[in-house]
Amino acid sequence: MSDRRTISVTINGEAYEREVETRLTLADFIRHEVLLTGTHVGCEHGVCGACTILLNGRTARSCLMLAVQANGQEIMTVEGIAPNDTELHPLQQAFQDNHGLQCGFCTPGMLTTLIEFLGDNPDPTEREVREAISGNLCRCTGYQGIVAAALDAAKRLKGKETAGA
């Protein structure tokens, strides 16, 4: 008999209640139960960073958490980054403009990682950006476009702040 629990998790502002097996990883919960397949699963042991989500505003690898551990918590996935269906977040726009993605497999993890990083460090150096994404593997871009996108996004986000102030 499997060990099951009912959990309630807020994902991108929407509450989801499901009964799950306690051994289910959070990554599989998001993809298979909630059917938000933007969060990608690469290595399933915490190396590739593709499954990175924001848990209460802090990045975490969703393959290294159990779904039951997210009970009562707030999660943001890549689907929650854009402000609406027609507009991109400045970081996403910077990725598009700077060739920050090719196949797109690592992109959800890159974006969530950089959302937190640019919040912690709004004016990063190139070296700091490279260090920030050192836990995210990309096999297409050679990282140059991603680094350029992150630095560009930092500028755009700062401009937005000034304009909004």
């Binding site: 629990r5 051994r23 159990l66 039951v68 990682t113």
Partner: protein
């Protein structure tokens, strides 16, 4: 690749957690999960019971105890990274923590978890060894302290029993103005280091070394204090020549060998990294002098 079936428990107190540990034969504690979860996903461990200690209150504080900092076992690595107390009073730990995995893993990973997993090149056990930390473990009906010198029993094997859990780590502090340095060599930033060196120096006026603590990680089965280097430094005046010569003693350490690096390479790294760390630590000490060692 999925975790094997187990029964999940989420106790709300240390007492409940250790009662479960005492009762269950094949149980694992789940702290930050940055080592246990991969092992579960790959089915390297097959526990019947997983005891999640994330919902226990009061296990994640960093407390100033005057001559020591006391960390709750569930203190997240991120909270160490961003702690002003750690940066001011225990700068070696601050420097080391930036080498622990990545932001995503530091957000979850814990001090107690890192100590219990005891990877030979993990940074927090090395810093704990360098600072002569004391680990407090609790089991049903008993609490005891384990000095860091007695904490590792072997490769990834801490000396506490299966029914005990790490509840706090007491890290004695060095005097204000002490020199410190943590350097490591890894293939990529955030990877497990092949070798690391942690150095603490208490330097008196005139550059005379009153006390030295030298720890190398990734060379032996657990972090090692290099007493031969410590003794060779004590009472001496720090200089490029002294540090260059004394760091060579690291080549005599009995080093492990694996697919990543042969023993001689680890001994070589231990000597080079210790030399650099000594130079950096001495430069940072209030009574030291600026020097660069390559």
């Amino acid at each position: 690749m999925k975790p094997p079936p187990f029964t999940y428990h989420d106790p709300r107190s240390v007492e409940d957690a250790v009662a479960l540990l005492a009762e269950k034969d094949n149980a694992k504690l789940l702290a930050g999960g940055q080592s246990l979860m991969p092992m579960l996903n790959m089915r390297f461990v097959l526990p019947d019971d997983v005891i999640d200690i994330n919902l226990i209150d009061g296990l994640a504080d960093i407390r100033d105890d005057g001559d020591a900092l006391v960390f709750g076992g569930m203190t997240r690595q991120r909270d160490i990274e961003y702690s002003d107390l750690v940066a001011q009073r225990c700068p070696l730990m601050k420097e080391a923590i930036l080498n622990v995995g990545h932001r995503q893993t530091r957000n979850r990973g814990t001090y107690g978890g890192s100590m219990s997993h005891l990877d030979p090149s993990a940074e927090l056990p090395s810093v704990s060894m360098a600072q002569d930390a004391v680990v407090t473990v609790q089991k049903k009906g008993g609490i005891r302290d384990i000095a860091m010198a007695d904490f590792p029993m072997g490769y990834m094997m801490p000396s506490f029993e299966l029914d005990e859990m790490v509840t706090s780590i007491r890290v004695p502090l060095w005097p204000e103005g002490h020199g410190y340095s943590f350097v490591e060599f890894a293939r990529r930033h955030g990877d497990f280091a092949i070798t690391s060196s942690a150095v603490l120096l208490d330097v008196e006026a005139g550059g005379r070394i009153k006390r030295a603590s030298i720890t190398v990680g990734g060379v032996g089965p657990s972090p090692l204090r290099v007493t031969a280097v410590e003794e060779g430094l004590t009472g001496e005046i720090g200089s490029v020549e002294l540090f260059t010569e004394i760091a060579e003693k690291c080549r005599e350490i009995d080093a492990m060998e694996d697919v990543y690096a042969p023993a001689w390479y680890r001994q070589h790294l231990a000597s080079v990294l210790t030399r650099r760390a000594l130079g950096k630590a001495f430069s940072r000490a209030a009574n030291g002098t600026e020097m660069t060692l390559r």
